[in-house]
């Protein structure tokens, strides 16, 4: 009995049909928002999270690298070729673990958000929390690796005398050698951020819908 109680407490109150009939939208909103957030998260897997454009006179079209959660695209080979002059390791050596697990992890986050649809208690916030934090975690990890790569240059590289270890700009403009760099959050990260905001709004809507029911239930007990 205790276990069932606890389960019911976590799951939260079910919606009585008469309440649903009266305030249909109020109960529908959190479902829609969570579902939308989950879908955006899944879509974001197929889009770059972060992009970097290098501008230099001899590259009229610029050099681009697009960072997806599980791989890099763009002029990676050429950028690696240039980076070897300053002793930076090949970009694909970075964040190997993160890239390996990212698809499953984000899929899991999306499932947790979907699960939160059915959890009408404050526990829903805990389920949705990882997804809310995803953009921040991504940027933090990105910073870690950029810093790690920028600070650990091979001292025997050809141009190591002219380039001091540095931390590449994570968002915005930077300058390294003749290259002007422009780094920006790309569609994937933007979608993930929108998903975070939708989840936060969804949690608020969910509390607004179910708190009265919860209070009533507790009152009955």
């Amino acid at each position: 009995m205790m276990a069932t109680d606890k389960f019911q407490k976590i799951v939260g109150p079910r919606t009585p049909p008469e309440a649903l009939a009266a305030r249909r939208l109020r109960f529908l909103w959190p479902t829609l928002l969570f579902a939308a957030a989950a879908i955006l998260l899944i879509i974001s897997i197929f889009l770059p999270y972060w992009s970097l454009v290098l501008h230099a006179p001899q590259y009229p079209g610029g050099l681009v690298v697009n960072a997806y959660v599980n791989h890099l695209e763009g002029d990676v080979r050429e950028i690696d070729g240039l980076n070897h002059y300053i002793g930076m390791r090949p970009l694909n050596e970075a964040a190997q673990l993160e890239r390996t697990v990212s698809i499953f992890a984000i899929g899991a986050l999306a499932l947790l958000v979907v699960a939160a649809i059915f959890i009408h208690s404050p526990w829903a916030a805990l389920l949705a929390l990882p997804a809310v934090l995803l953009p921040g975690v991504f940027l933090a990890d990105l910073y870690f690796w950029l810093n790690n790569f920028g600070q650990n240059l091979d001292p025997t590289a050809a141009l190591s005398n002219s380039v001091e270890p540095f931390t590449p700009t994570i968002l915005g403009e930077g300058l390294i050698g003749q290259f002007k760099t422009v780094a920006y959050a790309d569609f994937g990260l933007i979608l993930a951020t929108i998903a975070s905001l939708l989840i936060l709004v969804g949690l608020y809507m969910q509390r607004r819908a179910y708190k009265p029911l919860l209070d009533t239930a507790e009152g009955e007990v």
């Binding site: 009229p60 002029d75 080979r77 050429e78 070729g81 002059y85 050809a158």
Partner: protein, 683 residues
């Protein structure tokens, strides 16, 4: 005073040019002064009093300014058309942009070309295909490039060119602008009327020139009429393989009339080939023996013979095994050509030098260079006459159709007419060698409605400088010419350029043929300082789709496929098997791997090297001093060269393309140890 008037004219023109711009305060009337309004695009906003001052200071006339505005390409703006020109004696092909007339590339073809490494480690096997009787021939008299065609229109995929001196043909792949194949004609010793393609590039046609016994045999000149022969060769092109297949090719034996230029029939005349000739007199020269020299002997008669060849029937004969073999090459004998209705002839005025088919395929245009007319023959009348079996025969029994039965028109143009091309306005353009001019004349038939003039009339002439040979209009020998631009390929430049010693450059002159009527403005002079180009073709640039870099790292440009000897990063090594050493090397900015290669004197070295770059323009060179090796390794390219390490010593190999800031450091040491204890002693 004169200067002031000139300045005023220029100023008026410039203002007229700028007056279409709303934001430009001007009271000048919007008169459509020809040049001004053409140039009055919004880009003309920069025109200012400064421009007028510059024009005045440089002594530029309003026409000069118009010409400059029509050809100038700002940096980064690509040309609308590309010319592929024969490089003449250089043995190469020139690639030129239009309207800027900038030289974009010299493609190594028959002759070594060090920048491309052509013959210095890459392309050697192709150049060796051009050897004759085992002797390597490293120059060529390139004459007539031919772009591949689909349905009679340039398709931008392949380019062919002949070597007149040695009767050779080259195949160039326009994916990478590299030569893929050279072929020596095994039957004739020289050619002229090549290369031309059939409307779908089934065949590359190589016309003959100076008659000789077939198969490079010896016969006395006394037996000229019986043993000397002309020929036209049909090389079968296998588009899939990107090669000419000699086993599917054949040649038609012709009378010794010195066949010259050919052209393929198109549209209604597809399946027929037309070649002119210039020595129906069968003069054999011998000025030193009191005979008339060739120049006189071959010009005695009033007419020579245009050859009319039914290619479809020739193909049937080949398929039915009706050929003989000369040096292993299929030959349709003259008698078979006559018997099977493959070959007919018709007289053409005097010592002609071109036969050009109109875009609709209905007319054959011939210029007798010693006759002031172009003669226009009707293909339909030709068929009717053949159908009616109305002919006489020449000494060899070849049916000769009467000129009057085939003639559609004759147009008097001027002195020394040579070659004709066409535009999209119903005009034809003929080069006049002796007049040093380009003649524009009006076509009749279904072209008559396209232009305001009466059909078959001279419309205008523009002087060119000097002694024009071929001319070319934009896609002017296809089924759908573009008009717009025409280039006069002048043999002499005389006073056009600053003097550079007694050997003068040729002169390509760009003409604007976009309007109708008499006027064709001369826009630009381009000196050619590498050889004497003969013919060229102009293709719309957007039809070409060349690769920016090779599709994969480790690509063999010769096979256009990944090379089994391509080297990837991490696979570099040096292997020894007895006295054979195999080097597997990569090149990337800014190092070769390995940087030390140690071998022994007497070793045979097989050296594989791959440029692992994939960036546009990241080409590396690779040279070994003392061993005559210099490669050009374009991004992705894999090359293999071999040499015998005969001289010991220390050889620094290095990158010969300035590839990067650390280009000078892109080097390595080849150490060839002396063999035996006494091989190397220091004095």
């Amino acid at each position: 005073m004169k200067r002031n008037i000139l300045a005023l004219i220029i100023l008026t023109m410039l203002i007229a040019a700028g007056c279409s711009l709303a934001d430009r305060p001007t009271t000048a009337p919007a008169a459509p002064s020809e040049a001004g309004s053409e140039a009055a695009a919004p880009e003309a906003a920069g025109l200012s009093a400064d421009a007028a001052a510059i024009a005045q200071e440089r002594g530029l006339s309003p026409d000069d300014i118009t010409a400059a505005l029509k050809v100038y390409q700002p940096t980064g703006v690509h040309d609308e058309y590309m010319i592929f020109a024969s490089g003449g004696h250089s043995g190469q092909v020139l690639v030129i942009g239009v309207p800027s007339m900038r030289l974009l590339k010299v493609i190594g073809v028959f002759t070594p070309e060090p920048w491309q490494g052509w013959g210095y480690g890459v392309g050697n096997q192709v150049l060796d295909e051009g050897a004759i009787n085992g002797r390597s021939i490293r120059w060529a008299d390139t004459h007539h490039p031919a772009l591949s065609e689909t349905a009679g229109d340039y398709d931008g995929e392949w380019l062919f060119i002949n070597d007149k001196a040695n009767a050779r043909v080259a195949v160039i792949d326009l994916r990478d602008f590299e030569t893929k194949q050279l072929l020596k004609n095994p039957v004739v010793i020289n050619d002229h009327g090549g290369t031309f393609v059939t409307p779908n590039t089934e065949y590359v046609i190589e016309g003959g020139q100076y008659a000789a016994p077939l198969g490079w045999a010896y016969e006395s000149l006394d037996t000229y009429n019986d043993t000397y022969r002309g020929a036209v060769t049909f090389w079968k092109f296998d588009r899939e393989a990107g090669r000419i297949d000699p086993d599917q090719s054949f040649l038609i034996e012709l009378p010794p009339y010195w066949q010259d230029l050919c052209d393929s029939g198109k549209q209604v005349s597809e399946g027929w080939i037309f070649c002119n000739s210039l020595n129906a007199e069968r003069a054999t020269g011998g000025i030193e023996e009191g005979n008339p020299p060739f120049e006189a002997g071959a010009s005695q008669g009033e007419t020579d013979y245009m050859h009319l060849i039914n290619l479809k029937k020739a193909e049937e004969v080949v398929q039915n095994g009706g050929t003989t073999e000369v040096n292993g090459f299929a030959v349709i004998s003259l008698q078979t050509a006559i018997d099977e209705g493959i070959l007919y002839m018709t007289p053409e005025p005097k010592s002609p030098h071109g036969v050009d088919i109109t875009p609709n395929g209905q007319y054959m245009v011939v210029s007798g260079k010693l006759d002031p007319h172009v003669t226009v023959y009707s293909f339909a009348k030709m068929l009717e006459t053949i159908e009616a079996e109305k002919w006489t025969t020449d000494d060899y029994g070849v049916p000769v159709l009467a000129l009057d039965d085939l003639k559609e028109a004759q147009v008097e143009l001027g002195l020394g007419p040579l070659h004709t091309q066409f535009d999209n306005q119903g005009y034809a353009y003929t080069s006049l060698f002796l007049d040093s001019a380009v003649a524009r004349w009006s076509l009749g038939g279904e072209y008559a409605d396209l232009h305001p003039e009466e059909p078959w009339q001279l419309v205008g002439k523009t002087s060119v400088h000097y002694n024009i040979g071929h001319l070319l209009a934009a896609e002017g020998d296809t089924v759908s010419p573009d008009g717009k631009y025409l280039v006069a390929m002048n043999k002499w430049s005389i006073d056009r350029f600053a003097p550079v010693g007694p050997l003068l450059p040729q002169n390509f002159q760009l003409l604007d043929i976009d309007n109708t009527g008499e006027n064709m403005q001369l826009l630009y002079d381009m000196p050619i300082g590498i050889g004497e180009p003969h013919y060229a073709q102009m293709i719309k640039a957007d039809k070409l789709e060349p690769w920016e870099v090779y599709p994969e790292v480790g690509w063999d440009p010769h096979t256009q496929a990944p090379s089994p000897d391509g080297v990837q990063i991490g696979e570099e090594k040096v292997e020894r098997d007895g006295s054979e050493v195999e080097v597997f090397m990569t090149a990337v900015r800014s190092h070769f791997t390995p940087e030390h290669v140690e071998i022994e004197q007497g070793d045979h070295v097989i050296w594989h090297i791959t440029n692992v770059e994939q960036a546009l323009d990241a080409t590396h060179g690779f040279s070994i001093p003392g061993y005559d090796i210099n490669l050009s390794l374009e991004p992705g390219e894999a090359a293999t060269f071999e040499f015998d390490a005969e001289e010991p010593g220390v050889f620094s190999y290095y990158c010969t393309e300035f590839c990067s800031a650390l280009h000078l450091e892109m080097t390595g040491y080849l150490l060839i140890k002396p063999s035996g204890p006494t091989a190397m002693t220091t004095e």
